[in-house]
Amino acid sequence: METAALDALDRLILLATQRGLPLVARPYHAVAEQIGVSAEEVMARMQRMLDTGIIRRIGAVPNHYALGYTANGMTVWDVADDRVFALGSAVGQLEAVSHCYLRPRKLPEWPYNLFAMVHGHDRAEVEQKAQQIADLLGPACSARAILYSTRILKKTGLRFA
């Protein structure tokens, strides 16, 4: 994957914002004041980091449970290697799927290579959504499982020192 070196100012912006954007009327001015540059510079740097993908997005991370999505299923699928790129793209575009990744199998214990996160208000809803994935994958998929999360043990987001 392409990587982009951060210069000293980008890094200061990252350190000042990784725990969150200030909840004040002029948040970029607050960050600018903290690190000793102009607000225009902070906004221009953040726009550049968005354009280059260093910042994925600026926004809120909702707690699934608090929004009523109490059933969180990591659906996992063993999909034929020669079909998984095309099928993974199709699965990722399903409305029901929030994240979709290709990952390595860990044979013999873990035969699954396609991961799709599905959130529902209950397990029946997750299973119904998983069935849409199963229908899409068809005979290219030879094994499947749904791993429900039962507890958040830690959730801090990414931190850089």
């Binding site: 954007l21 999360s149 039962t150």
Partner: protein, 147 residues
């Protein structure tokens, strides 16, 4: 949560503007005042309905390492291992799941080599193998949680 809270949660999942008064701009879109939006956002964060608000940095593009890791921990030993794993600052989040592979966490490190070191440390500290499952490809990822 009332209708305004839901509108805030839905609107703020992506595309927060880069301008002088971004909260005022979003408040106008959803039909409330800037002060009200700031107060509601503060409450939503306090209540942990939102776990964070701000820029999401892309660890791999920063040259760091990011990896999903799974472990199979015998239930009587689960809490001890969870405490050891959670104590590492490189562990960004950690979920218990119903499966023989019952612990799933994400490691985020400043360098790719940091991943190897963190994995070795976890295996050493806990005494169990850690199965690294890095993403080989990401398919169209987007947040679509409607409040």
């Amino acid at each position: 949560m009332d209708a305004l809270d839901r509108a805030i949660v839905n609107r703020l999942q992506d595309g927060f503007p880069l301008c002088e008064r971004p909260y005022a701009a979003v408040a106008e879109e959803i039909g409330c005042s800037e002060d009200e939006l700031l107060a509601r956002l503060d409450d939503l964060l306090d209540a942990r309905i939102l776990t964070r608000f701000g820029p999401m940095y892309h660890a791999e593009r920063l040259g760091g390492g990011l990896c999903l890791v799974a472990m199979k921990i015998p239930p009587p030993d689960f809490e001890r291992v969870a405490a050891l794993v959670n104590a590492l600052p490189e562990v960004a989040h950690n979920y218990e799941r119903e499966h023989a592979f019952n612990m799933w966490f994400v490691l985020a490190t400043e360098t790719p080599q940091g991943l190897t070191e963190a994995l070795a440390r976890i295996e050493h500290d806990t005494g169990y193998p850690a199965y690294a499952m890095p993403k080989l490809r990401e398919f169209f990822v987007e947040l679509k949680l409607r409040a």
